[in-house]
């Protein structure tokens, strides 16, 4: 009984904060838009009894999902989101791995400080930090002023409101999520493994590829998922740093919901997004599970 209670707490949490909202969203996605409050039909009215319930389910349809396929805006937005998420994950990995590697190789007394520096940005609001990037990247921003001052460029670069700015913002924001799991994998690694590899005929570089990289594989996978999954649905960064050319599903969702006030279509977009994300989330979970088994 006590065991059951212990398990029940997190499950109740999940049911209340994930499953019930998801069912509501799913229901809205099957409804029709209406000029009402709330702006969709039909409403569930339990007082009507069994007949009311029957007519309620009869009114639900997949019309909104069909609509998503007719307008190419949506699948373009999905694909574009996936592409941006993929590229920014790769860039974050390329930037994050050397940082994590350097941290793990640093003298042990320095590691806590370095670790704190990676986490430090979380102490200020994410929104403010993205606004700060607007100040840096704009035409009269710090970056352009600096480049003009050094004479590298003669006219300011247009970075803000382009995909470049979005990539910069995403890589900057999600870098800690990449660094931390890789660092924890590398830090656990026994240095004598590299010595053993060298002893057995590896050069430094091949020892890195044959020992360090495979041993940090789980950290790399975890980091990539931790970046990729939230970036797909990212909304703040593309809407603040991106321009009209930046197409991301998070932004589309927001516009459907708040500008068009088309809750059913917005809900359908959200449900599809969730279905897309289920695959990487399952893969991520499996990786974590495997890692736990290997360690334990």
């Amino acid at each position: 009984m006590r065991r059951f209670l212990l398990i029940a707490v997190p499950y109740l949490w999940l049911v209340a904060l994930f499953l019930i909202p998801f069912v509501i969203v799913l229901k809205i996605s099957l409804s029709d838009i209406a000029l009402a409050r709330p702006p969709y039909m039909p409403q569930l009215d339990l007082s009507a009894g069994w007949e009311g319930l029957k007519s309620f389910f009869a009114a639900l349809d997949f019309e909104n999902f069909v609509f998503l396929t007719t307008d190419d805006l949506y699948w373009k937005a999905y694909l574009s989101s996936l592409r941006i998420a993929l590229f920014s994950t790769v860039i974050t990995l390329l930037v994050g791995y050397p940082i994590a590697y350097a941290m793990a190789r640093a003298a042990p007394e320095w590691r806590p400080t370095l670790l704190m520096l990676v986490i430090l940005p979380f102490w200020t609001s994410f929104l403010i930090r993205v606004y700060a990037w607007m100040g840096i990247l704009s035409n009269e921003g710090l970056l352009n002023q600096f480049l003009l001052w050094t004479g590298i460029i003669s006219s300011p670069l247009t970075i803000l409101n382009t995909n470049t700015a979005v990539y910069i913002g995403i890589v900057y924001t999600y870098l800690p999520f990449m660094i931390l799991p890789i660092y924890s994998a590398l830090e656990r690694m026994d240095d004598s493994l590299l010595e053993a590899a060298e002893d057995l005929g590896c050069s430094r570089l091949s020892a890195f590829w044959l020992v360090t990289v495979p041993l940090s594989k789980n950290g790399i996978i975890a980091g990539c998922f931790l970046v990729f999954i939230p970036v797909i649905g990212e909304f703040v960064i593309p809407s603040l740093l991106g321009g009209s050319g930046t197409l991301m599903i998070g932004k589309v969702l927001w516009e459907e919901f708040f500008s068009n006030r088309d809750w059913p279509v917005a809900s359908a977009v959200a449900v599809i997004l969730l279905l897309i994300l289920v695959i990487p989330i399952i893969l991520f979970q499996r990786n974590e599970q495997k890692q736990r088994e290997a360690n334990g």
């Binding site: 026994d190 002893d199 057995l200 290997a294």
Partner: protein
């Protein structure tokens, strides 16, 4: 059996052969880490097919020596030659040297098979050669059944064997073993020691082993180097290290030892009769008047005396002043010195006031007049309740008895002297042991069982 059957065994001792070329030469090697001197001007040769043990407490420089051989450290000064070739600028991956790490350093992401094949693959050998060699190594280390397992799926002893197989796979000229058996429990360690010796013999590889376990070093090694503070204090075969240590440090580090300090004096030569060099306080039992009855022998009291003299006298006769005494119980250990005459020469050691000097026939007479220490192994001492007829017999009291099953160690406080340990093989069951706590005993040893060391 005809005598021809016994083939003369050539003793393996390349270090005594001036024509033999050493495989490894340390030439005035010094290694500093900042202020700390890990290796201090060390010169040492190691020969092919040797099983060379570096023994010492932690921080003595033994691991640094090994890491220099492997190429992970470069000497601050001096040279290392392997097969006559200077190794100073040869990186670890270009050396015909392999190392078995203390932590084994098995690659956790690779199977046992792939771990062993790792070095061979780096050499770019073809698949069949690699497979054949790996199979050979698996058989040698009896790991055939575990080839597909990952390191975390096998036991500590198996992991140790994988590490050994991996380091042997490339058939190195020199194999370095860094505390190879440290992580194994005692029984497994002992078995593995013999396995290591076996494999060393089979493969003909030169082994250099680093260990802080002196028993392990003595068991496996052809020569043992005892190190202290970056220097090699003594290099010798295990028996020589044990029986003839060259310093108090070595004597004390290897095994148990009793150290008796004193002042040396040259013994008169030629041969002096035992009685002259050893004035005994108690007269010899033979010929001399019988000693007074022992205080613990039963003595009649006044009433008994009267009873005897008045009542029993007619029947039993006069009471003998000394009851018949049984001969002293025989020694558990025969002392050959009893039969043979005491060896001449050597020194006499004055070790405590009021005691005759200890006779050390193998002591260096040139040490006469110097302060010296006599190192005596506990198993070379005898313990007895009655004074034995040996050149050296020191009185004392049993303070403690350590029972180890096969052996017992007696801690004896010598009268007016230091505490010594005496080790006796328990040939009798413990219930029949005749010496117990607080007993007055004699600790005896022959004139050649100790080693006189300076200082």
């Amino acid at each position: 059996m005809p005598k021809d059957f016994t083939v003369a065994q050539t003793v393996f001792a390349p270090w005594d052969d001036p024509n033999e070329k050493p495989l490894i030469q340390f030439k005035n090697v010094t290694k500093r880490f900042g202020e700390f001197i890990a290796i201090d001007d060390l010169t040492q040769d190691i020969y092919s097919k040797e099983f060379f043990a570096l023994l010492g407490p932690s921080g003595c420089g033994k691991t640094t020596m090994m890491r220099i051989l492997a190429g992970f450290e470069t000497p601050t000064e001096g040279q290392i030659l392997i097969s006559g070739q200077d190794m100073s600028h040869v990186p670890p991956n270009k050396r015909a040297v392999n190392m078995m790490f203390q932590s084994y350093a098995l690659f956790p992401h690779l199977s046992v098979w792939d771990n062993i094949a790792f070095g061979l693959k780096r050499e770019g050998k073809d698949k069949d050669t690699i497979a054949a060699r790996v199979e050979e190594m698996l058989r040698l280390t009896r790991l055939d059944r575990f080839a597909k397992r990952k390191p975390h799926q096998i036991s500590g002893g198996q992991r140790q064997r994988v590490a050994l197989a991996r380091s042997l796979a490339k058939a190195p000229k020199l194999l370095l073993l860094d505390e190879p058996l440290g992580a194994l429990d005692k029984k497994l360690r002992q078995d593995t020691q013999f396995e290591l010796m076996d494999i060393q013999e089979k493969t003909g590889t030169t082994f250099v082993i680093v260990t802080h376990d002196q028993e392990e070093a003595m068991t496996v090694a052809s020569r043992v180097a005892v190190m202290d503070e970056g220097k090699i204090v003594q290099v010798a075969t295990p028996d020589e290290i044990y029986e003839a240590p060259n310093s108090i440090y070595v004597a004390d580090f290897i095994g148990d030892v009793n150290l008796i300090e004193g002042r040396a004096e040259a013994r008169m030569s030629p041969a002096t009769p035992r009685d002259q060099i050893e004035p005994t306080t108690t007269p010899d039992p033979e010929g001399a008047p019988p000693p007074p009855a022992k205080p613990d022998a039963p003595q009649p009291n006044a009433y008994g005396e009267w009873l005897q003299n008045t009542l029993l006298f007619p029947f039993l006769g006069k009471r003998a002043p000394n009851p018949k005494e049984l001969p002293a119980p025989s020694e558990t250990k025969p002392t050959p010195a009893l039969q043979s005459p005491v060896k001449t020469g050597g020194i006499a050691l004055h070790w405590a006031d009021g005691h005759p000097p200890i006779v050390v026939a193998n002591g260096d007479p040139q040490l006469a007049g110097a302060a010296v220490t006599l190192a005596l192994r506990p198993e070379k001492l005898n313990i007895a309740k009655n004074k034995p007829d040996t050149p050296n017999a020191l009185p004392g009291t049993v303070i403690d008895i350590g029972y180890l099953g096969n052996l017992s160690t007696y801690h004896v406080q010598l009268d007016n002297g230091p505490m010594v340990k005496v080790q006796v093989t328990n040939v009798r069951r413990i219930a029949r042991r005749d010496i117990t706590w607080e007993d007055a005993v004699w600790v005896s040893f022959s004139e050649t069982s100790g080693v006189v060391l300076k200082g």
